[in-house]
């Protein structure tokens, strides 16, 4: 009776423990239960004894607790509590926390002691880091693996001391602790969160993942795109762990509606039905661990802790263990009878003990058949765990090694290994005995055209035999390690030979290390390699031009596959789910084959290419709305709109600037009053009453009655009045907050025009204010004035550094009397005033302005920015008007610079002398003397000469002085 042979268990209740985690030590003596107030250490030899307690002060529950798995450190265990890990020592019946590992910034999700180094512990956390700690130096982690995503599980590989795996939502990452920057492999394992992760105890590359998506999957991480096998359950799987005996697996489900609290034992060779159910717990099983086998005992013991506050110990005898194994047919047959036996028994007990929900009466019959059929064929069955047959080994072996070729022949149980390294050639026949790899080593024999020396042959033979024996003793495959040994042996031989300086091949055939262990497949869209490529945007909005909002959204007909509560995936690798049927989401299973084909397709090239971002959205729509209509028709016949419309909206009403105002605003420096009034009317016309008032205020403030006296000793200037500069500053401040650059720029322009002191234009005689302002700017920044466009386009000097415009511009900066004319110059303070009157006058000039000269630069920025907006509106003249008021130079004009081609050798020349022929580059058409200094050219015919000569000539003539017949005056405006 099945229930009988496993029900010989120990049940101990710890009513007050409230423990969240449990761990069994490596000696099998103790189990620790971690409650919030105490840690309970249970003596597993006498579990009913009152447990010893270790007090703890924390408001956090213990997340994970684990004994050190090394016998030498068996007294040590680690417990995580929120962001920290406490290390406890258990000695002589009492324990204490002796140190803490602090480093994580958020809650720790898992911890695991290294299987190889007793001091090393790895922790994972929601804070996205995985830390490896050396307990001898607890100040900080020795290695930090940055995963970007928070991890839920982390586990050391049991065979490779550098390798570890972590789970992040539905992904698994494989790390090499020596390469902490990035994971060595990504496995997009599940579509939902992974709850449990477990490495195969014997195979370095195989691991099992259990997930919220109701499945356990088995992976060889060298083939991350396809799982080896899947165990489908009806409920989310909390944990799935390999058994210490071969081919077994124990799972715990996340109970949902039904109270399914049993642990299930499976054979990894047959995942159709569980081998056994451990029935007894009344509540969720929180933790289960295997107690190490006692000396001389063949039984295994499973220790479980449940929320029902009981600790149970289940005996798993060799017969039950054999149920999971497959190696010998007799045992299998034994197991078969046993299994059927147990099925019957389990079924008969249905009324008493609730079993797995799948085991209802109808199904169990099917399962029974399934068991039989699968067992009878199990010799050919693909093992998800360790590859047992030669064929499996051949298909899984990774032999992408440079210079090595392996021909495998599974039928004859042999293979040929050819390797060449430098001048050496090796060809080996490897023969595998029938019992291989169960303690039966293959034979190695050199065949022609092997070129190596006989001593070398002996050496290699020994190495290969040693390697293979080492492996098969543990019933492990040995082909790959042997081939690698062979290669490294050959290479080291070459290196040593070259060190003697006798091998000429070292240069032509440099030793190349074996290819990385993870050969990458070619990139396909949305594959796991796209884990760092962001998930594409399918909607977006952009402000464009001045008042447009352009936006697009996902078409209404496309819905998200995931429920709306689930956030949109982060990375493009989420699409890998749609690459192949392998990753078909669970919900798809129920749909018809036709739809399945469309979305999941076989992983052929064309299908891969069809994977697109739309696959992510496409499906739900189909399954929901179109399934009925489409039945029986090929979906691809019907074009589906995947692109939505792009909508352009006029949103200028939301903006503080108005195109209408840009068009109607005027800037007449001759009559500021009039300008203000007109602008007030314009503002009123478009409904900006606030601006109308502002313009009225501006009009008042610029009234001629208030114009400042030029003498410092006269009245306090109006600018010093509260309604002067202060008022203006308040206004500017207000419109700054509203980002109304239009009002800002216009106000600044108007008040700058107004504020210019009259006496600064004395150099120009009695000109009216407008022309003087214009003249000033005209001279300094010709490129922005409209009049400058027509002037001077042809004038240049052959000495390219001085143009007439620049000469005046420069003078304005360097001639001191001009200092008063430009507000900029005040800010430099580079003039030294010897006369105190001068200084006072300057102070007065500053004071009488309504715009604070200290902020001129900022006011210029307003104008430039507004100028840019006017440009976008296509109001170029208005822009030029505003930019006239910029005091600081905008970007210097770098339009046309005349290049000169040497008139003798036709090479491009700079300056007056040709660099190539050393002659003067350019002769005057009138006097035939080389021109240096001021000159003019005709843009059409290229002739010209000294400016004075040209002026003279064209005063009376119309055609070119060179006699080319060009009407220079008409062709190019002088």
């Amino acid at each position: 009776m099945a229930a009988r042979w496993s029900s010989e268990n120990v049940v101990v209740e710890f009513r007050d423990a409230q423990a969240t985690a449990m761990s069994v030590d490596c000696l099998g003596r103790h189990a620790v239960l971690s409650g919030r107030r105490f840690l309970y250490v249970v003596n597993l030899e006498m579990p009913s004894e009152a447990p010893r307690k270790i007090g703890r002060q924390s408001k956090w529950d213990v997340g994970t607790v684990q004994w050190n798995p090394h016998r030498t450190e068996a007294h040590l265990f680690a417990a995580s509590s929120n962001q920290r890990v406490d290390l406890y020592v258990w000695q002589d019946g009492c324990g204490e926390a002796h140190t803490s590992l602090l480093g994580h910034t958020r809650v720790i999700s898992d911890l695991d002691w290294s299987w190889f180094e007793p001091e090393f512990l790895v922790t994972s956390s929601v804070d996205t880091y995985i830390y490896i700690w050396d307990t001898r130096d607890t100040r900080k982690p020795t290695v930090a693996l940055s995963a970007v995503a928070g991890a839920s599980q982390v586990k050391w590989n049991r065979r490779n001391q550098y390798c570890l795996a972590s789970s992040h939502d539905g992904d698994v990452r494989i790390w090499d602790k020596r390469k902490p920057n990035t994971a060595v492999e990504y496995v997009a394992a599940h579509l939902s969160k992974i709850h449990g992760l477990d490495w195969h105890p014997d195979n370095e590359y195989i691991l099992a993942t259990s997930s919220q998506d109701n499945s356990v999957r088995f992976w060889d991480y060298r083939q991350p795109r396809k799982y080896l096998n899947i165990l489908s359950c009806q409920v989310p799987v909390w944990k799935a762990r390999y058994t210490p005996f071969s081919n077994g697996l124990v799972t715990v489900m996340v109970p949902q509606l039904r109270r399914e609290n049993s642990l299930l034992l499976w054979s990894t060779l047959d995942l159709n039905s569980p081998v056994h159910a451990f029935v007894g717990h009344d509540d969720v099983v929180l933790e289960f661990q295997w107690r190490p086998q006692k000396e001389g005992s063949k039984d295994c013991q499973l220790v479980t802790w449940s929320r029902d506050q009981t600790l149970r110990i289940w005996r798993v005898d060799p017969q039950l263990q054999k149920l999971c194994a497959s190696d010998i047919v007799e045992e299998l047959m034994d197991g078969l009878t046993l299994a059927t036996d147990s099925e019957k028994t389990l079924r008969s007990q249905d009324s008493e003990a609730p079993l797995s929900p799948s085991l209802n009466a109808d199904e169990s019959h099917d399962q029974q058949e399934g068991v039989q059929s699968s067992l009878s064929t199990s010799s050919r069955h693909d093992a998800p765990g360790l590859p047992q047959t030669l064929q499996q080994e051949f298909s899984l072996v990774n032999l992408q090694i440079r210079n090595v070729n392996v021909e495998m022949d599974a039928v004859n149980r042999s293979c040929f290994v050819s390797a060449h390294c430098g001048a050496n050639r090796v060809r080996l026949v490897v023969k595998f005995p029938a019992q291989y790899p169960n303690n039966a080593a293959p034979s190695f024999q050199f065949v022609s055209p092997t070129t190596i020396s006989s001593s070398m042959k002996t050496k290699i033979q020994k190495i290969l035999t040693d390697t293979s024996l080492q492996k098969v003793k543990r019933n492990q495959n040995c082909l790959e390690p042997c081939v690698r040994q062979l290669v490294s042996c050959l290479e080291s031989d070459i290196v040593s030979a070259s060190e003697d300086g006798t091998n000429p091949y070292i240069l032509t055939n440099p030793v190349t290390p074996a290819l990385p262990a993870f050969p990458r497949v070619t990139n396909t869209y949305g594959s796991y390699q796209d884990a760092n490529i962001p998930f594409p945007r399918t909607s977006g909005a952009r402000f464009c031009g001045t008042g447009f909002l352009v936006y697009f959204t996902r078409p209404m007909t496309m819905h998200r596959t995931a429920p709306p509560t689930e956030p949109t995936p982060r990375s493009l690798s989420a699409l890998s789910a749609y690459h192949s049927g392998v990753m078909t989401p669970m919900k798809m299973r129920s749909e018809s084959q036709a739809t399945l084909r469309l979305y999941s397709g076989s992983p052929t090239r064309t299908d891969k290419e069809q994977v697109s971002i739309s696959s992510f959205y496409y499906k739900e729509r189909k399954s929901r709305r179109w399934k009925g209509k489409r039945e029986g028709t090929d979906c691809s016949n019907r074009p589906i709109k995947l692109a939505g419309k792009v909508i352009i909206q006029e949103v200028s009403c939301l903006l503080p600037v108005h195109k209408a105002l840009g068009e109607t605003y005027v800037l007449n420096v001759n009559d500021i009053q009039d300008t203000c009034q007109k602008n007030a009317a314009a503002a009123l016309a478009i409904g900006r009453r606030d601006l109308a008032k502002v313009w009225a205020l501006a009009s008042a403030a610029t009234s001629l009655d208030l114009s400042p006296d030029s003498e410092p000793d006269a009245d306090t200037p109006w600018a010093r009045h509260p309604f002067g500069r202060h008022l203006l500053e308040t206004l500017l401040d207000h419109y700054s907050h509203m980002s109304d650059v239009q009002s800002l720029a216009m106000l600044c322009s108007v008040f700058r025009g107004q504020g210019s002191p009259h006496d600064s234009f004395t150099l120009y005689g009695h000109q009216n204010p407008r022309s003087s302002v214009l003249a000033l700017h005209h001279l300094r920044y010709p490129s922005y004035t409209s009049s400058s466009v027509t002037s001077g386009s042809c004038s240049s000097t052959s000495d390219s550094t001085t143009t007439t415009w620049n000469m005046i511009g420069r003078d304005s900066e360097h001639i001191p009397p001009w200092g008063e004319s430009s507000p900029d110059d005040y800010r430099y303070g580079n003039q030294v005033y010897t006369d105190p009157r001068e200084r006072e006058k300057e102070q007065h000039d500053m004071n009488k302005r309504l715009l604070d000269p200290a902020n001129t630069l900022q006011f210029d920025d307003f104008k430039k920015c507004y100028g840019e907006i006017l440009h976008r509106w296509g109001l170029k003249e208005k822009r030029a008007e505003v930019l006239k008021f910029v005091s600081c130079p905008p970007e210097p004009h770098k339009g046309i610079e005349f290049g000169v081609y040497c008139c003798h050798c036709r090479s491009q020349a700079r300056g007056t002398q040709c660099a190539v022929c050393k002659r003067f580059t350019f002769q005057c058409a009138i006097c035939h003397v080389a021109v240096r200094g001021s000159s003019n050219f005709c843009l059409s015919c290229g002739h010209g000469g000294h400016t004075s000569h040209m002026m003279e000539w064209f005063r009376s003539q119309e055609v070119c002085p060179a006699g080319c017949g060009c009407h220079c005056l008409l062709q190019s405006t002088f």
Partner: protein, 320 residues
């Protein structure tokens, strides 16, 4: 009132990833998973397909128009690791330059302010940012910031051209001494600000607030005020507004605009920098505006492309 002035049916064969109008608002460029970039003339509410640019071998993520003073130039970036710069000459669009210097998907392209010349920043999933500068004569100069963001760079956005306060008057004839800066966002959850010093790009600031990948950054246009503003959005659903009043650009303060329920993909500033458009995985577009007292408020909601921008509150209208 806000009004839809045009609805463009792009006829893309797959989902659209970006749409942008040119400087004057007369042309629309769109890009899609169907590997194409399309340009439409959208003057006066019409839609005329001007060009269907084929050249990318993967989905095209983003497009960017250059300033018109350099001609009609459009840059596009794609999953195929390429950046293509397209130029219209005599009415036909052609490849002007193809940049293949990235090792993974290029996620974002952005032209610098026209004052700097023709300069394009590209952010890629290989973690690097490239700066492609036209040196004239169809020649391009490449500068690459390797490992700008661990794991990957998702967005780049240039700072407006502002002259440093200390250098007021530039000697005429020389290039003004702009301090070139741009912001980037990446999978390290950071927003970084980069600054050019002596021709080298250096990390200037690191802005930390997001708890997941930063999906977009937007440097607000300047209207001449000394404050710099950056908006950033992330997979974590948060949108932050970063401001810096310090002329040296060293102290940035973050303000949470809003926490959305799903990833936020894109932020875009209005030309005056006072309205922010936010869009994300929830398929919605919202507009946000800063009130006079510095609070950000949602002023409209463009839901699933159904309706126009609606419900501008009375208060905001009065503010106008």
């Amino acid at each position: 009132m806000v009004s839809v002035i045009n609805t463009v049916d792009t006829s893309h064969e797959d989902m659209i990833h970006d749409a942008q109008m040119d400087y004057y608002g007369t042309r629309l460029a769109t890009c899609s998973s169907d590997r194409s970039v399309k340009i439409f003339d959208v003057k006066n509410g019409g839609q005329i397909l001007v060009a269907d640019l084929r050249g990318h071998e993967g989905p095209v993520w983003q497009v960017a128009w250059a300033h018109p003073m350099y001609g009609n130039i459009l840059a596009s970036c794609s999953y195929d690791r390429k950046v293509i710069i397209w130029k219209e000459e005599n009415g036909t669009w052609d490849k002007m330059y193809e940049y293949t210097g990235h090792e993974s998907s290029v996620n974002s392209v952005c032209w610098g302010p026209y004052d700097y010349g023709l300069i394009l920043a590209c952010g890629s999933s290989d973690g690097a940012i490239s700066l492609i500068t036209s040196t004239g004569d169809e020649q391009w100069d490449i500068k690459k910031i390797s490992n700008a963001h661990t794991i990957g760079c998702n967005a780049v956005s240039w700072a407006p051209a502002v002259l440093p306060g200390s250098l007021i008057d530039q000697p005429s004839g020389q290039k003004p001494n702009y301090i070139k800066r741009f912001a980037s966002g990446g999978c390290d959850n950071l927003v970084k600000i980069w600054k050019e010093e002596d021709g080298q790009w250096k990390e200037d600031q690191k802005l930390e607030a997001h708890s997941d990948w930063v999906r977009d950054v937007g440097w607000a246009p300047s209207i001449g005020l000394p404050t710099s503003t950056i908006a950033s959005c992330s997979q974590d659903g948060r949108v932050f507004i970063w401001t810096c009043d310090d002329p040296a650009g060293n102290t940035w303060t973050a303000k949470l605009l809003h926490k959305f329920n799903d990833v936020v993909w894109h932020v875009s500033w209005s030309i005056t920098g006072n309205i922010l458009a936010v869009s994300g995985g929830d398929n919605k577009v919202t507009l946000w505006k800063e009130s006079v007292d510095g609070q950000w408020a949602c002023i409209s909601d463009v839901n699933k492309g159904q309706g126009a921008v609606s419900s501008i509150t009375e208060g905001q209208q009065n503010e106008q």
